[in-house]
Every structure is written in C-alpha cells, then in structure tokens.
C-alpha cells in the first residue's frame, strides 16, 4: 500500500477550480445528460468559460459549439465527457492532445457492467496516464463546487445546493441526488459535492487528502459501498482529524457478511468484514453512521456549533414528557445533566413561575412565551457548570414559535457553547424550524436525535484531545526464526502448522507458551511427560484435525506416567475411529496451565484492512457469546487498554464477586506481541490462541492451545 502515489493538491484543484470547461459530447436535446450537464453549468453562473463540443451542432443554448475539443482555440482546463462509453477513449485521446489536464467522465458502461466495460475502463485509464490527466468517474453524477469564486455545477443534479462547509463524497450517483434534495429542504449547504463513481483514477483517498487542507470544508461525509483500501482510508482519516481537526462521517452499506462462515478458526468466523470495518473506523477516529439521516444529524451539530467542551448538558423544555425522553437519551449516550450553580438557580427561580422546574431539565411550562426561553437559555449558558444547551419546544396555542426561534439564534451567538434545538411537530413549528435551519442552529424533529448528535460532537472533541502513541516494537523477538518455520511450511504446501511449529513461533515472539514435546510412540510418553512435569495435557497432532476436542483428541490433567500411557492409546483409538483418513503425527504433550481466566487472542488477515487482532473471553463458547473486540495491527500503545476494556466481560478480569484481579499488564503485552507478529509475519492468514490463561495480577499469562493457518489462496487450492 505504501507504494501508492496519491494525487497532488494541484491535480485535484484543477477538477474543482477549472478556469475553462469543455462539455464533450453535448447536444441540444433537453432532458438528456449531455444537454443538462451543459445547461447546469450555464444556469448556475459558473465563473469560468464553457465550450460545448458536439460533432453536429454549431451552437447549443446560445453558446458556440466545436466539433472537436482540439478545435477550441483557447486553453481548456477540464473536459466533461458525456459521450457513450464506446467512444470515450477517442474523446479522451483528443483531450490529451489538446493539453487538458483534468476530466470528469460521466458516461456509464465501464467496469460496472463487466466484460467489455472492464477493458474500456482500462483503456481510458491508460490514455489518462499517458497524458497526465486526472479524472473523476466514470459512471458518476459529476461534481459541484459551491465556492462563490467558482460556482461550478458539473453534474446532472436538478439543483445547485447552498454554499456551506460540508463536503460530501459518494460512490453512488443516484444517492447524491436524493441527498441534495434532502439537504436543500433543510438548508444544509455544501462546500464540495462529488460523485466519484467507479474511481478508475481519482479515488476517495485522493479527495480526502485534498479536503484536509480545503479551507471551505469543515466536515467530510463519505458514502461507500466498498472499502477497497482500508489501510489508506485509516491513514488519511487520522491525518485529517489530527492535523485539521475535521470530522469524517462515513455511511458504508453492506453490513451483512457471508464470507465469515467459511473460516476455519474462531477468529476467522468472528471477524466478519463489517466487524473489522467498525473497529478500523473507530480506531481511526471516523464516525460511522447507520443512516443518511444520522449522518446529517451529526454533521450539522459538528459544523454549525462549537464542539462541547464537556458532557454536561442543560435541557430546556416547555413539555415534561419530551424532557424525560431527552434525559433518558442523554444518560444513554454517556452525557450528564448539568448541576446548575446557585447563581443560575437563583435567576431561574426569580424569573420563572413557581410551577416551573428550575432543576435540570428546566421546565418553563407549557404556556411559556419567548421571555421564559430567553431567561432560561441565557442563565444556563452563563453557568460554568454547563457545557451546552438542548432546547425543546412543543407548539401550544400561546407558544410564539417564531420569536422563540429567533431568540435562540440570537442568544446562541452570545456564548461560545453549543446550542441544539428540537421543535417537535411538523406543520405548526415549521416557521421556527426554518429560522433555526437558516441561522445554523442544529435542529432535530425528535429530542432523542438531538441528544445523540450532541453526544457525537462531544465524543469527537474528546477524540481530538486524545494523545496518539506509536505501537510498541519489541526488540527481543526472533523474526527470522518465525519466517523460517512459516516459509518451510509453505514450500511443503501445508496450510496448518503443527503443534511443535506453533510453539516455536510463539517462542520466537516471546509469547509465554507452555513447553510441549511431540510423542511419536507410547514408550516415549512417560519420559516426555515426566520431563515436562505433571500435570500435563495431551493432544492429537494431525494436520487434518483443527478442532481436536471435537474428535476426542484432547485429554487434560494427566497426573502420572501410567495415566499418560493410557491417554496416548485412548486418543489414538478415538481419533482413528472418528477421523479414519487423518494422518496422525503423534500426541503432543504439554505442561498443564494452572487455573486462571481463559481469554482468546486471534489474528485474521482482512483483504482491505490487512492484519486484524481479536481479543475476547475465551473457551469453546466464544462464537456463541461473541464477546470480542478488534483492532487493526499495528495497535497503538494507548489503544491496547481500550481493546481489553471494550468487551462486556471486562469486569471479570478486574476482579468481581471475590475473584482476584488478573494480570492485565501481561495480557496487554501478549496483545502487543501478537500485533507485531501479525505485521512481521504476513504469511499467516489466521491465528487462534484459545485459550490464553490470564493468571492473577503479577503472575503472567500462559499460551496453551494455538492454531496457525497460512494463506487463504493455498487453502482454496487444497479444497
């Protein structure tokens, strides 16, 4: 991934700020894409020069047309290709000859249709590379730049959106038009609006790098159908958040996952691509949204108001029920109700009627007019114990909706604290909602959504303050030793490592593995077990058997030589009955771990995000409880604690109901060592350590059972 070169600021700038544009393939037929593209550019008052290029028309919409782009006497900064896909290569070739350096290819009929389309896309990419043309698309709606200095609507959307500070990037063109319509109704403005389609040249990563430094953009929204380069997405997102403080909100479709069911390890079956995506986004600081509505609900909070410095909110309402709903959601979202200062309480008591509730939520009572909202909102915003205000209104006969909305806007400007509003209802409150939306007070029809949005803004502010630490790199590991074992297995066309090999790999990475030796005959059993020290555990060793206990291949707690010899025969008999065609290498004898808490550590290689580490409560029921957390490797030092704390059963590790606290430091070190192994040994496709026994505090951990699988391609070929 590190070899990929992304577009420079200048290359993307030429797409958003061209001084001249040629619409190549334009026609005179209203209601068609070639005509509407040109018409949109003209009607939305583009500040540059437009050249229609049409093989047959002398002029379109009163503008002189050219047969070919090379016929244009002036320089052309950008070409918008609206020809059918079968001739786009001809048009692009001429653009190259003309010296055009950026393009938008609107036409469909490329990679998305398969077959010939794939070849066509390859061809236009080759032409673009030959001439150094950066292009958006193909198969897209186009781009919009609302910057008044440019005003370019190079899309076939119905209307130009309002100017604003939100950038919206989408893989789906059709979704774009729906989003524009939704945003228009709510007076949500955009800085840049991009439908990037098949992203044959300019990708979402290129656009994100550009938006990082775009002064017009304060929040970035991204709709994705596939994450084709997860690691780069994480990298650029971190960079944007850390260096520019701009939030990134992603709506990614496709939450279902069919691939996980085919996995051979616990980790493989638990780490579905969407779980990995969730974990990676959180790790990178990306806000993942479930719906378009959520996305805009969160975005307007983030872009219109200052970020909450703390989580103490004041709720002001003229209705008790909605106040309670908002309180419930406030608590659920880990916000807290502010405790007002005596001074604030005094003002509220003096100014509100005796029946009003002056504690939080402040209930100004159903017949409240603008004066009560004024005093309540001003008092709480002045209070140092309050980090932000949530204002609720329900429309009674005497409620002066317009005046209250205007007062909220006015007061909000006087304090550097966030104010969000929820005017509940639809028709009666619309006059107030319109005022709030136009004057950039985040408005929500439901108070619950208002609380959720406030919580996202608060969490984002915390994210900004978070200190980042690099992943720990252990110097005492023996990477060469691990590589030798892994490469030898690959050369011998094996995709599972034997017990002895897995122990060897664990030792190379200084993981606290219990010693073990393979016994190949009954006569060796007593000697080996004795040398390890009783009690021991004995496990069948066979490349064909992954889940040994399922076939009677494991016996625990063997206390002497006699029991060990008997166990040897029992295992061989059971396994040869259950899996008659399995080639058995012998029985692996391992020192038995003392009692502790069983957890699972795992590794899986994800096609988009690379190595992913899993941690959770271990044992044979791990897939049933699914109490696991994920992180993409390498795991930053301060992410490790969060990973351990993310699981629901975390309190078990800290000591509950008389149980002692476990050795969390040792556990965290094991996770970090596994993370390093994942990064350095890319031959491994899946790995399970189940269980890892975590002893009492100060007594360490023990790796007991390990499974290591090599590349998935190999596995497929093995059937």
């Amino acid at each position: 991934m590190s070899g990929i070169k992304y577009k420079s600021k200048e290359q993307i700038e030429r797409i958003f700020y061209p001084e001249s544009v040629a619409v190549v393939g334009a026609n005179r037929v209203k209601g068609t894409v070639p005509y509407d593209m040109l018409h949109n550019i003209l009607k939305d008052n583009y500040k540059g020069t437009v050249f229609p290029v049409s093989p047959r028309e002398k002029s379109i919409a009163g503008v002189k047309a050219y047969k070919y782009v090379i016929d244009i006497e002036d320089e052309v900064d950008m070409a918008i290709l609206v020809f059918p896909s079968s001739v786009c290569h001809l048009a692009l070739e001429q653009c190259g000859e003309k010296g055009v350096k950026s393009a938008i290819i609107i036409s469909a009929g490329f990679r998305e249709i398969g077959g010939d389309g794939v070849q066509r896309e390859k061809r236009i990419k080759e032409i673009a590379d030959k001439y150094g043309i950066s292009f958006i698309g193909p198969n897209c709606l186009g781009i919009i730049n609302t910057d008044p200095g440019c005003n370019l609507n190079a899309s076939f959307a119905r209307n130009m959106p309002e100017n604003g500070n939100i950038a919206f990037l989408s893989q789906s063109g059709a979704l774009c038009t729906a989003v524009l319509d939704y945003a228009r109704a709510k007076h949500i403005g955009f800085s840049k609006f991009v439908s990037f389609g098949n992203k044959a040249d300019v990708s979402e990563i290129d656009l994100l790098y550009y938006l990082k430094d775009d002064p017009k953009t304060k929040v970035i929204l991204l709709y994705l159908e596939e994450v084709s380069d997860g690691r780069s997405l994480m990298k650029v997102s971190r960079k944007i958040i850390r260096e520019s403080g701009k939030p990134i909100l992603i709506l990614k479709s496709g939450r279902t996952d069919e691939g996980a069911s085919a996995a051979a390890s616990h980790t493989g079956s638990l780490a579905g691509s969407d779980d990995v995506c969730d974990a990676a986004f959180t790790q990178a600081g990306i806000i993942r949204c479930d719906t378009i509505e959520d996305m805009f609900n969160f975005a307007i909070g983030l872009v219109y108001q200052p970020l909450p410095r703390g989580n103490r909110v004041a709720i002001i309402t003229n209705a008790g029920g909605p106040g309670v709903l908002a309180t419930d959601m406030t608590i659920k979202e880990n916000l807290s109700l502010a405790r007002f200062s005596e001074k604030a309480k005094e003002v509220l008591k003096k100014s509100l009627p005796g029946t009003a509730n002056i504690c939080n939520p402040v209930d100004v009572i159903g017949d409240a007019r603008v004066d009560r909202y004024n005093v309540a909102l001003s008092s709480v915003l002045q209070d140092e114990n309050v980090d932000g205000a949530l204002v609720i209104l329900t429309p009674q006969s005497m409620t002066d909706i317009k005046a209250i909305a205007e007062e909220i806007c006015r007061i909000s400007c006087c304090y550097n604290k966030p104010v969000y509003a929820s005017f509940m209802g639809e028709s009666d409150v619309s006059i107030g909602v319109d005022i709030l939306q136009r004057r950039k007070i985040p408005h929500y029809q439901l108070p619950e959504n208002m609380c959720k949005a406030f919580a996202r803004s608060y969490r984002f502010n915390r994210q900004l303050k978070k200190e980042y630490t690099a992943a720990v790199v252990f110097k005492d590991v023996d990477t060469d030793r691990a590589h030798t074992i892994l490469n030898e297995a690959i050369m011998n066309d094996r995709w599972f490592l034997s017990e002895a090999e897995t122990v060897n790999i664990m030792e190379a990475y200084k993981m606290p593995v219990l010693p073990g030796i393979l016994a190949v005959s009954e006569k060796d059993v007593g000697r080996i077990a004795g040398s390890l020290g009783y009690p021991v555990v004995m496990k069948v060793s066979s490349e064909k058997i992954v889940h040994k206990s399922d076939v009677g291949g494991v016996i625990l707690n063997i206390r002497d030589g006699k029991e060990a010899e008997a166990a040897y025969q029992t295992i061989l008999n059971k396994v040869s009955r259950t899996v008659p065609d399995a080639r058995i290498n012998g029985v692996f004898i391992q020192k038995m771990a003392a009692e502790g808490e069983e957890v699972i550590l795992g590794l899986k290689r994800d096609p988009s995000f690379g190595s992913v580490i899993m941690f959770g409560l271990g044992g044979i029921f791990v897939e049933i409880f699914r109490d696991v957390s994920f992180r993409v490797a390498p795991i930053e030092k301060n992410e490790v604690a969060g990973m351990v704390q993310d699981i629901k059963s975390y309190p078990i590790l800290t000591g509950v109901r008389g149980r002692s606290e476990k050795d969390l430091e040792s556990l965290k070190e094991c996770i970090q060592r596994l993370s390093q192994l994942a990064v350095e040994c890319t031959q491994i496709s899946e790995l399970d350590i189940n269980p890892l026994i975590v002893m009492d505090r100060g007594k360490g951990c023990y790796v007991t059972d390990i499974k290591i699988m090599l590349g998935t391609e190999r596995r497929k070929s093995c059937g």
Partner: protein, 85 residues
C-alpha cells in the same frame, strides 16, 4: 456489387439520415464521435441500410460497426453471402 459502390451508397444513406454533407463523411469517421449519431439515429441507420441494399442485418452485430468503413465491410459481407446463396 463492388465495394466502392457499397461505400458510395452507404455515404448517401448516412448523409440523408444524419442530415450531413456527403463530403463530411470520411471512411474513418466514427458514427458517434465524428458524425454525432445518437442511439436512435444509429437504429435508423441500420434500418436505412437494410432498405437501401434489400438485406436483413442482425441489430447488435450491425451496431458494433463504429466507423463508416466498418459499416461498408459489414454490408459488403452480407451482400457477398447472399450472392453465394
């Protein structure tokens, strides 16, 4: 029929359907990129060629001819085949 005759008649048909001067129509001209035919006009051209030469053409195959010379070759091939039969 001679190929030159096929070409001349094809150019006449194209000029009529697309309302162009015959001398604008070169052998290498692409129906869409150079002559500006849209999808409806492409279908009209196929029908006009069939009428002009009294032949039947498979639509998808006919539309795969992107240039004038490809259309001439395509029609000439059908005429030759018909003559043999």
């Amino acid at each position: 029929m001679e190929k030159a005759e096929v070409e001349a008649r094809i150019k006449k048909v194209i000029a009529r359907v697309l309302a162009l001067d015959e001398d604008e129509i070169t052998q290498e001209a692409n129906f869409i990129f150079d002559l500006g035919a849209d999808s409806m006009q492409s279908l009209e051209l196929v029908a006009a060629f069939e009428e002009e030469f009294d032949i039947e053409m498979e639509e998808d195959e006919a539309l795969s001819a992107q240039t004038v010379s490809e259309a001439v070759d395509f029609v000439a091939k059908i005429l030759a085949k018909a003559k043999k039969e």
